[in-house]
Structure formats: structure tokens, C-alpha cells
Symmetry: C2
Subunit: 103 residues, 2 copies
């Protein structure tokens, strides 16, 4: 699905990751985090795909909204599990979307 | 692969797409475009994944580098084929990466 975001400017969080082997609760938590993110103030949408590399881009109205989402306690637990067992490595990029166009 | 980008600020182009059915030359052109992009001035890296949704994020040193890459003639042909036959729909977002961190 392509996220139906409003006119720029808005923010994107690009989360690129390499998983460890096995599920170990990852799939259930990923689903839960997707649902929980969608209930946050300032949430604008999400896009996700994974092969060897996984890319999840979430869209937000402000830096404040991103900071608040990062601090949600259940999300903090997911971040801890991510570092402890689910991800070999990841990179997070906080971006200002300046322009967009579509087909 | 997670792109090894320099310290922010730099730019990201998030290309999110839904493919049509069948390959029809898409795979070869995607490979060619990946190689061609990597030879452009200001190219910093690329990340890509596809399930039902495809996400390709390319990283660039400046808006000028993004504009120049969009205008490369072989890339323009790929963009035309993309609209004519490979993509059901797509969205392009031009972003300023303000901050990043990794694990």
C-alpha cells in the first residue's frame, strides 16, 4: 500500500533493517506496533517491505509526534527486543519530506 | 543491505510503488538503473525491498544531484516505461535527512 499523506511538508522515519534468523515473536509485535502507531497523534501513514533488507517508512506531522511515538512504553519494549534478538542491524533516518508527486 | 551514508544532512528519495503483473523487461532495467545511479555525482547509496509494495530509497548529497539523475536520458526512458507498463501506481517523496542513528 502507498500511504495517502497530505501535502508536504511533513516528516518521514525511514527504518532499514537486517533481521536475525527465526520469528521469535517478531511478526506479532510488528503487527501490534503497526496498529499502535496508527493510533498516535500526528501519525500520517506507513509503508513496509522486506526481502533480505527490510524497509519501513512511517510518516508523521511533526518531530514532536515522532518523539512521542518513540517514547510509548510498549514501543520502547519492542525497541529493546529489536536490539536484543530480532535485528542483526538497523538504521533510522529522520527526514523532512519537502516535495512529493505520484502516478 | 543498509546504505552507508555520511553524517546528515543529506537527501533521500523515497520511491514507493505497486507493480503491474509480469516482468516485461522490468528486472533488467531495475538492475541497470541501480548501476547507473551509483555512477552519478552526489550518489550516496540505495536500499530496496519489495513485497506487494515496493520501496526503494536512494540517498543523495544535494537536490541538484537528484535533479541531474532524474534528467539522465536512459533514466527518463525507464521512467516512461514505468508509467506505460511496469507500475500500477507510485509515489516519490523528496526528503531532507536531518538526523540518523543505527544499531
Amino acid at each position: 500500500m502507498i500511504a495517502q499523506t497530505p501535502q508536504p511538508p511533513y516528516y518521514a522515519v525511514i527504518f532499514t533493517s537486517i533481521r536475525t534468523a527465526g520469528d521469535d515473536g517478531y511478526g506479532d509485535m510488528a503487527t501490534e506496533m503497526g496498529e499502535l502507531a496508527a493510533r498516535q497523534n500526528g501519525y500520517l501513514g506507513i509503508e513496509s517491505a522486506r526481502n533480505e533488507t527490510g524497509i519501513t517508512v512511517s510518516y508523521w506531522a511533526s518531530l514532536e509526534a515522532i518523539k512521542n511515538w518513540k517514547a510509548v512504553s510498549r514501543h520502547q519494549l519492542a525497541q529493546k527486543y529489536g536490539r536484543d534478538k530480532w535485528y542483526e542491524s538497523y538504521k533510522v533516518r529522520i527526514c523532512l519530506v519537502e516535495r512529493d508527486y505520484e502516478f
